[in-house]
């Protein structure tokens, strides 16, 4: 087995072990941190489809994360108030339905934003995705029905058939299983005909076009899938906090999801997982150390970008597979 293949098993294994050990030691807070890491990792896996496979530097993925979060918030809000949406659609507290709605809503958002942004490339693309993300952020702030700037709380975590989701470990396991399933699917996607074509457009769009591929369409599909996965993570994140607010849509969120990938290693399957665990661990340790922990986070990020471009996985597994 290649070292990276082993890491792909070990890294999620560490996350699972952390939660199980925390359960055995009756440390629910650590389980919550592990859950947060799993969810952020899922958002990172989503962004990695656009960023790692497609080479699309999207600085607006908080838009999809937030749309997923608001999908959960709005459905649960209407369910807990017994007020159907527009008097017709009942809200729901059932996770599978919420996930489905979050996936569809964020996929549609990504489709629209992607259709416009992907007409451009390079710096324009970065700035435009950032701008559209910001548009949704300001819209959420100025729309008062669902809490406006203050966001809104959900009294009880949503339910999953047959599982008591109020038990921290159960909710962690739900998130972890989703993460693993999505990682397996992403791996298959990367090796499929679509994934190979997408990577060809990243490496050289002109040549890919010359052999008959359609870069715009490939990128749009990738961007949509990427947004949908990040949206699903958003729904879980809102469920974890039982709270959704415009901060989920802020561009700092986009930056954080991107940081996860870079800390772990770009275009690596378990890069976002390693990155998310590292990020949460840093947050936990540094926040204790200093109120101004973002300074250290910034310094570490700067160091990784300037001197350790492969991230954690690049350091351990070498650069053997990242040959571009």
């Amino acid at each position: 087995m290649r070292r990276e293949t082993i890491l792909n098993l070990v890294i999620p294994g560490i996350l699972l072990a952390t939660a199980l050990i925390a359960y055995a030691m009756e440390e629910p807070y650590i389980i919550t941190l592990a859950t947060k890491a799993a969810i952020l990792a899922l958002a990172g896996v989503g962004l990695n489809i656009a960023l790692g496979l497609g080479g699309l530097v999207s600085l607006g993925h908080a838009a999809f994360f937030g749309v997923g979060g608001y999908a959960m918030g709005i459905l649960a809000f209407h369910a807990q108030n017994y007020m159907p949406i527009w008097g017709v659609i009942e809200g729901t507290k059932s996770m599978p339905i919420i996930w489905l709605v979050a996936l569809i809503a964020s996929a549609l958002t990504a489709l629209v934003i992607g259709a416009m942004s992907l007409r451009t490339t390079g710096v324009y693309f970065i700035m435009i995705t950032l701008a559209f993300g910001q548009m949704l952020f300001y819209f959420a702030i100025s729309w008062p029905t669902y809490g406006g700037e203050d966001g809104m709380s959900i009294y009880l975590r949503n339910g999953f058939p047959g599982v008591n989701t109020l038990v921290p470990l159960n909710f962690f396991l739900i998130c972890f299983v989703i993460l693993v399933v999505v990682m397996v699917l992403t791996d298959r996607l990367g090796k499929s005909a679509f994934g190979l074509a997408l990577q060809a457009t990243r490496q050289n769009a002109a040549r890919a076009e010359a052999v008959g591929l359609a870069p715009y369409r490939l990128r749009l599909v990738a961007f949509t899938i990427s947004g949908a996965v990040t949206g699903l993570a958003g729904a879980l994140f809102a469920d974890l906090n039982r709270f959704v607010s415009p901060s989920m849509l802020s561009w700092h969120m986009s930056g954080e999801i991107m940081i996860l990938i870079i800390l772990g290693g770009i275009a690596r399957l378990s890069g976002p997982v390693a990155g998310a665990m590292l990020f949460i661990a840093l947050e936990y340790v540094l926040e204790d150390l200093s109120h101004y922990w973002h300074v250290y986070l910034g310094a570490i990020l700067l160091g990784v970008v300037l001197f350790a471009r492969g991230g954690v996985i690049g350091l351990i597994a070498g650069r053997e597979v990242a040959h571009d």
Binding site: Y124, I126, M135, Y138
Partner: protein, 306 residues
Amino acid sequence: MSAALLIEQLLNGLQFGVMLFLMAAGLTLIFGVMGLINLAHGSLYMIGAFAAAAVAGWTGSFWLALMGALMAAAMIGALVEMVVIRRLYDRDHLDQVLATFALILIFSEGTRFFFGSLPLYLDTPDLLSGPTMLPGGIEYSKYRLFIIAVGLAVGAGLFWLIARTRIGIQIRAGEADREMIAALGVDIRKLYTLVFALGAALAGLAGAMIGPIQSVEVGMGEPVLILAFVVIVIGGIGSIKGAFVGALLVGLTDTLGRIMLPQLFGLFMDASSATTVGASLASMTIYILMAGILLFKPSGLFGGQS
């Protein structure tokens, strides 16, 4: 809506646009010459505002504060260029985004460490406080007129610098072919530091001038930064003229949208929901403007091939 109110709002939009131009000009210059996308440009705006507040606190003079802001932003800009930014020119855009995002984290938290989290306020200088009478009997804030005048003067100076001076020739040559001008004996490293410091000084000036209108606080640069991106995307990256037109377009659209949309919806809705819908849509108008322009001109109004 009365004509006086309309003119007042037009001037407000102009003032906002001029501020955005100061930000966008630096960004677009830095991108045009060095090919660098600089997210930390908003931090330089914030640094300008804090430097102005600090100097005004020590000396009580607004004019010294303005000078202090310019110098602080230019010096920190030059320093950051030499320590970090210089290493990013031949990296891809992703690395540039991440490294400059890291700089934002460092600058924001650093500022919070030195100045605390409470917002600071800058006083308007006596000379410029209060309203003045415009022709046609319209009262308008002297200070905002001052911002418009400074912004337009800086814009004219920038056009002159780029079109007529030796530095400007080097900057334009650097945009066209950086290896060639290095081969011709221009110290390209010094030129890059200079351009970056110039952009930083413009951002610092903008931040210092906005001090008496808004509160000076950590994170104040980011909304402006993102609007400046919208401006550049509309105007075309690398074009100062594009930045100018784009900035005025965004400034006017945003200001007028906030006033007119709620009134427009008031025509066929009850007052409270018209305010809600109007305000929500008004927060989106400039992005819709951007999307519309991109549909027809993917590389912006004055951009070359992207």
